[in-house]
């Protein structure tokens, strides 16, 4: 599952992952992801941070209260400075994939996360 507000980027992630044979569901906002979470039951969530409505950090918290073992990786163009690192530390340091990413790099990180 990916949550990304830019349609072109969401479609790109879908294309890359489907080409590798993964099932994919995407949302352009956090609310829909939370609403459909129980139905979708994703193995992995790729989560943008700057989203309209509730941001990626809030989505992270909501999903983790529903399922504390859910695998989630942030996918963002934001620079991870000390403040964001403190925030991520509180969340147990989830994986962070920086944008822009190479398709091969994304696939490698998704594989690594699913196998961890």
């Amino acid at each position: 599952m990916a949550i990304e507000d830019r349609p072109e980027t969401l479609a790109l992630i879908e294309k890359i992952l489907k080409r590798e044979g993964y099932d994919f569901v995407g949302y352009d906002n956090g609310e829909d992801c939370v609403k459909n979470y129980e139905k979708d039951k994703p193995d992995l969530i790729l989560l943008d941070i700057m989203l309209p409505g509730i941001d990626g950090y809030k989505v992270f918290e909501k999903i983790k209260t529903m399922n504390k073992n859910q695998k989630i990786a942030f996918l963002s163009a934001l620079d991870i400075g000390p403040q964001a690192q403190v925030k991520l530390f509180k969340f147990g340091m989830p994986k962070y994939i920086s944008k822009p990413f190479d398709p091969d790099e994304l696939v490698a990180k998704v594989k690594e996360l699913l196998e961890s």
Binding site: A77, G81, P82, Q83, Q85, D102
Partner: protein, 281 residues
Amino acid sequence: MADIDIIIIGAFVALVSLVIVELAIIINSLRYTRQLLRIKDMHEAEIRRAHEKLKSVDKLKTEFMNMAAHELKTPMVPMVGYLQLIDKKKLDSEDRESLEIAIRNTKRLQRLVGDILDIAKLESKVMKFNMEEVRLESLANDAVSSAEPFAKEKKIYLKKVVPKNLPTIKGDAVRITQVLTNLLNNAIKFTDKGGITLKASKTGNSVLVQVVDTGIGIGRKDVGKLFTKFYQADSSGKRKYGGTGLGLAICKEIVKAHGGKIWVTSQLGKGSIFQFTLPSK
């Protein structure tokens, strides 16, 4: 009235006058003190206001830089991604070449955007450092393993000589790795035979890191200018070797922010030693 009485009365009047004068001085002093305290309070409030203002300007500057970085990187995501998704096998040789040029330049633009944002953040002191106790050896391992494929591609050696008992340093692990990676990649770029050695040693209260290469070396006139933004050793070099011309300026700012020094010694045709110090903990 006896003379003695007059003298006593005179002395008493003098004493009273003296007390009055003293009282007047004390009252005046108190008034001045109060005024001074008021002025001090006013100044302090002014300084506080100025400080608050500066803090909010600083916050705005940081927010602006972070937003600019985010907005510049966002359109690069589909640009970089979709170009690389195109199936090259389906293209004829001319189209394939066009695609490769587009990909190469998109990656260059991506590096340039990253470097410009880094130098802007460093120079405007917006870049925040996550200072912690770090072991240089593990950072050197990361930097060497990320540079290794490039050295292998050029069939040159890449060695690491870092003693196990090196003192720890206080620094931002991500940024120090950035400096190491940058210096190693630079050395690989300018070395066609022989190779590169990454060395570290203790010197006084610092750790000295050296990247020694057997590359083309740098002429005396260029050595002093290498850490200047957009400076490249010569225009033909710029075409042959590429790069943003910002890497060494970024390294200099990062090392400076850690309280260290960076410099280079070089001999044309024989190789260069890029070295920097970082205060040990």
